[in-house]
Every structure is written in C-alpha cells, then in structure tokens.
C-alpha cells in the first residue's frame, strides 16, 4: 500500500457544487478576480511597508504553489523545500554580483541550478517512501543551509548583499517598490497558472495516481520514479524562481532566511489551504504570510494567536480551507466519435 498520504488529509468532497456560491468558487474566471485584487491592492494601501509585505506574500504564494506540486499533487512529503529557494537565491545573487548583471539575466543559470538541485536531492531520496522521505528531505534542507553558511562564495553567515536589481532601462527601474510589486505579481500569477494547468494534465494525473496508490500506478505502466522526479524538478524550479525574486526584493541573501521554520511555513500554507488545489494553496499562502502582519497589534501575543488559529483550522477543517474537488462534469462530448482502434489489442 502506498503510505504517501495521510488519508485524513485527502480530498473528500463528493458531490457536485450545489449552491450558486460554490459554483462561483469553481468558475474558471476566478483566477482573473484574484489577479484583479492583487493588481488593485496598491491603490488601497501603498505605504512602503504595505508594498513590502504584499511583495513578500506574493513570493510566498509562488513557493507554496511549487511545494503543492510536490506535496499536494504527488504526495511526497518534503520538509526541506526551502533549499530550492536558497539555491535560486544564491545562484542569482552570486552571478549577478560577480558579473554586475541585472538579476533578470541570471534566469537561465537559476533554471539550470534548480533542476540540478532537484535531481541531486530527488534522485537518491525518491526511492524512499513517506516518513523516510520526509526525514531525508529535512536533512538536505539543513545541509543546504549549513553549506551556504560555511562557503566563502556564498559569503558565509553574513551572506551576500548589494545584489543588483532586476533590470534598469534608463530611468525605468523595475526595482522601485511599486513596479517591483507588479512584476512579482505577474511572474507569480504565471507560475501559479502553470502549476494549476500541470495539475490538470496527463502528468498531473500521473502525480495523483502515484499519490493515491503507487503500486497500482506502476501496474498501469506509469514509471513512478520518473514521475516523482519530475514533480521534484518542477517543485525545484518554482522554488528557485521564488529565491530569485527574494534576492531581488531584499537585494541581500543570508543563510538565516532558509531555516527549517521557512520550509515548515510553506508546508503549512499548502496543508492549510488544501493540498492539491492551487486555489486553496494560494489562499493558504496569503493567510500564512499576511496574518502575522495583520496581528501585529497583538504584539508579543501575535504568534500565539497565529498558532492557535492554525490548530483550530486543522481541527475543524483537516482537509484545508479549500480542498481539491472530487468530481468532474458528467457530460459526454457527442462530437468525438468512438475512438478508432480502441477495440484493437496492441502489444
């Protein structure tokens, strides 16, 4: 039996949306509404502090959507996800600083390095299942951070600072807070959309088959190891781009940003939002990243309140705010003829 997923966390919604409200929540246009909210947010509040918080939240959404590919779709519990963000952040930071390049030109290098990191961490660990995988990924996460802490090229404990901005053409600087916020929102929206689309494809289905029952998936000819590695690599790319945006946002990278707590927070966003459903995960990520800021008035008690709230949510809604839907439309497409050759055995 596949023990990859705790079935108490698995989606359980079992009937089509009955009310108009729930149909609205499943509508395809909802993504545009979310994008609209993100775009108009600076018109409501645009203090440097607010823009800073919103940009951080957007980056956090990107991280959560990447981890959702690994944990939500494929059911691989990854406790060291922040390592990929570290790889992305350090790669872009080091290269941009060394060659004094705008950060945007480090994208190919970030892609290569994160794919490599995904392969290096994934290849040996993905033969393991459930708990063992979690422990090994936890180890890799810490190894990455400690390595960054001790190497000279990464600047040791103090990290790298003075990282060049994303891009500057004449007077137009992508790095000015409001512009950078919009750039981040556009990039993050693209990645979230891509992750959601991947989830609805043949590959996304294969990930779910692996999550639900690895042996049965294997019996259907799905090379489970390869499919899991792909989930890992996609997760790594998403995390790497999160790192690149992070480096651009703070213009500094240090090992303290990649502690285990960060991995745990991203995982929390995925679980709280609803594993496997990109919409839920976006909400979860926003809650995890914005709530501590909104609770700032409670001063020292804010993390207590935050923790209590998480516990309450998990007790009363273990499947997350917005779990993935367990049904699909029944209608048939009559215009597609019965597939020719369906009755033919092929060997």
């Amino acid at each position: 039996m596949s023990e990859n997923v705790d079935t108490t966390l698995a989606p359980r919604m079992t009937r089509p949306p009955s009310s108009r409200l729930s149909r609205l929540f499943e509508s395809r246009q909802l993504g545009w509404v979310a994008l609209g909210i993100a775009v108009s947010a600076p018109f409501v509040i645009a203090t440097p502090y607010a823009l800073n918080v919103m940009t951080t939240a957007a980056i956090f959404v990107l991280l959560a959507s990447g981890l959702n590919i690994v944990v939500g779709y494929c059911g691989l519990l990854d406790l060291g996800y922040i390592a990929f963000m570290a790889v992305g952040a350090y790669t872009s930071g080091i290269i941009a600083k060394a060659f004094d390049l705008p950060l945007i030109f480090t994208i190919p290098a970030v892609l290569v390095m994160t794919v490599l990191a995904g392969l290096i961490i994934g290849a040996p660990t993905l033969r393991l299942r459930s708990d063992y995988l979690a422990i090994v990924t936890l180890g890799f996460g810490e190894i990455t951070r400690i390595t960054a802490n001790n190497l000279t090229v990464t600047g040791g404990p103090s990290g790298i600072f003075g990282i060049p901005g994303l891009l500057k053409i004449g007077d137009f600087d992508l790095q000015s807070p409001a512009v950078f916020y919009y750039v981040t929102v556009i990039i993050v929206a693209g990645f979230v959309l891509a992750a959601a689309r991947l989830g609805r494809s043949r590959l996304g289905r294969a990930w779910r088959f692996v999550r639900e029952d690895e042996d049965a998936a294997e019996a259907m000819g799905i090379h489970t190891y390869r499919v899991k590695l792909l989930a890992y690599i996609f997760g790594a790319i998403w995390g790497g781009f999160g790192g690149l945006l992070f480096a651009a946002h703070l213009s500094a990278v240090s090992p303290q940003s990649f502690i285990f707590l960060q991995s745990a927070l991203v995982l929390m966003a995925v679980v709280l939002g609803g594993m496997g459903n990109m919409r839920g995960v976006v909400i979860g990520a926003l809650v995890i990243s914005l709530l501590p800021e909104l609770l700032r008035d409670l001063a020292a008690y804010r993390y207590l309140a935050f923790g209590l709230l998480l516990i309450v949510v998990m007790v009363f809604r273990p499947q997350g705010f917005w779990p993935s839907l367990g049904y699909e439309p029944e209608r048939r497409k009559p215009d597609i003829p019965d597939p020719a050759g369906a009755t033919e055995a092929s060997r």
Binding site: A10, R205, R208, E344
Partner: protein, 263 residues
C-alpha cells in the same frame, strides 16, 4: 496460435517459504485460462512475479518472445500485460473517469509544455482521453455516475471500473485476480459475458478464481496450483476428474468425491 506468455520454472521464496516453486505454464492468443488452487497455493504470488511486483528468484517469464523476467512493473505493463488486483487497488479519491484514464497513461499525446500552454495538441489529447474513458466504461457495462470519486461507488461498480482501467491499457494479455469475489449472481453472469467479449477483442485472459461454476463455464484451460507448483493442467472436464486435484481440494482417502460445483 502462438504463445503470448510463457512462464517456465518460476520460483520465489520469502525466507524459507517457497510461495512459487517451479511453476510453468503458457498462454496462447485469445485464450482464457483459469489458475485455481487452495488458498496459499501461490497464485497471487505467481501473478506478482509475472507482473514484476516480486522479483522471481529463478525462472523465466517470456511475453510475446521478449524476456521480461524481473523487470520493473511499469516496463512489464508497457510490454503488454495489464492486471487487476485481488483487493481493489483503485485511486479512491479520484473520479471514475480519472481512474480509467490511468490505464491510458502510455498513450502519451501531450507533454508538460503542452499542458502549461494549453496547445491544440493538449486539447485534442484530453478530448481523446475522455472519449476513450467513456468507451471502456461502456464496454464493461458500467452504468453509475462517472464524475464522482471512486470511494462513493459500490463494490461491484468498483470492480467494473478496475477492469475498465486494465482494458484501457489495450494490452494483449489481461491478468484478473479474483474478479468474481464479492459479486452476486447477476454480476457474475455479467462478468462471464464480459470476459468473453474481452477475449473477442483479441486479448488473452488469465484469471485466478475460486468460483468453480464460473471457472468451469468460462475457461478453456485450467492450471491447478498447490504448494507453489502446477499439479494439473487441462480442460475443465479433464481437471474435474484429475485425482491430484481432488486430493488437493478434498484431501486424500476421501471417497465422497463431490462434483466441483459451486465451491
């Protein structure tokens, strides 16, 4: 008639227990073969060795002239064997259609870039996947809802979906592990005609089954297993009268040799 599957001297041991101990049999094209035997005779272990879930300690499995012994289950499935499991192994939280789509994974037709950019190729292949899924559900005579999660279905319906999923693989050989277990009389009759229709598609079937009535009616040849090896092989009529088989099922020195009706 050429052999689709040839199993020779298959062996697997778990510690000291030889679950399969020198099993040999072959399957011809468009043939329905039943593997019967008392519980613990090694039937399911043999299936697991053939499909790669267990690595046989000795012996060979040849599929259509290709040696597939000890390969990965996914490679064996790709080589042309599809199977069902003794205890349903569906994807409980996924919809009926998605479960059947699992059998179509090897059709390909799209890659991840198609999925991200929703190319025409992607739309086309998704449409084909859905149409085929409906086709195979129709083929097995599934009449329930198709967009709901598998966990909402009755046991009989789940069994139908599992066969539809295996059929969607479109392989030349289908292994069914106790397809009739837990089914009522009407459902068993449906299974009987379904197996014949599958055979008519050009697919050979090997089934493990305890329901002797079904086995006798359906199979063209029967392989009887006990203690990990084949103790008899032949047509249903031959097997029925075979002394070794009677002893395996009823014990030695028992004069009341019952007809193997519904066991």
């Amino acid at each position: 008639m050429s052999a689709v599957l040839a199993v020779t001297d298959l062996q697997i041991a778990f510690g000291g227990v030889k679950a399969v101990d020198g099993l040999s049999f072959s399957v011809q094209e468009r043939e329905i073969i039943a593997v019967i035997g008392p519980n613990g005779a090694g039937k399911t272990s043999a299936f697991n060795c053939i499909t790669g879930f267990y690595k046989p300690t000795a012996g060979a499995v040849i599929l259509g002239g290709k040696d597939i012994t000890g390969k990965r289950p996914a490679d064996i499935a790709a080589a042309g064997i599809s199977r069902t499991f003794q205890n349903l192994r569906l994807f409980p939280d996924l919809t009926v259609l998605d479960n059947v789509r699992a059998g179509m994974h090897l059709y390909g037709g799209q890659n991840w870039a198609d999925a991200i950019f929703h190319t025409p190729r992607f739309t086309r292949s998704e449409g084909a996947y859905t149409a085929e899924a409906h086709h195979w559900l129709d083929f097995v005579g599934y009449e329930g809802a198709r967009g709901v999660p598998i966990r909402n279905l009755s046991y009989g319906q789940q069994k139908q979906v599992e066969i539809a999923r295996a059929l969607a693989r479109k392989s030349g050989l289908l292994l069914l592990d106790e397809p009739a277990a837990g089914l009522n009389y009407a459902e068993k009759q449906g299974l009987l005609s379904l197996c014949r229709r599958i055979r008519d598609l050009g697919t050979a079937i090997v089934l493990i089954e305890h329901d002797m009535g079904l086995v006798m009616k359906l199979s063209e040849r029967i392989v009887v297993m006990n203690f990990g090896r084949a103790i008899a092989e032949g047509t249903p009529a031959e097997v029925k009268l075979n002394q070794a088989v009677i002893e395996a099922y009823l014990g030695k020195d028992d004069e009341e040799v019952a007809s193997h009706g519904d066991a």
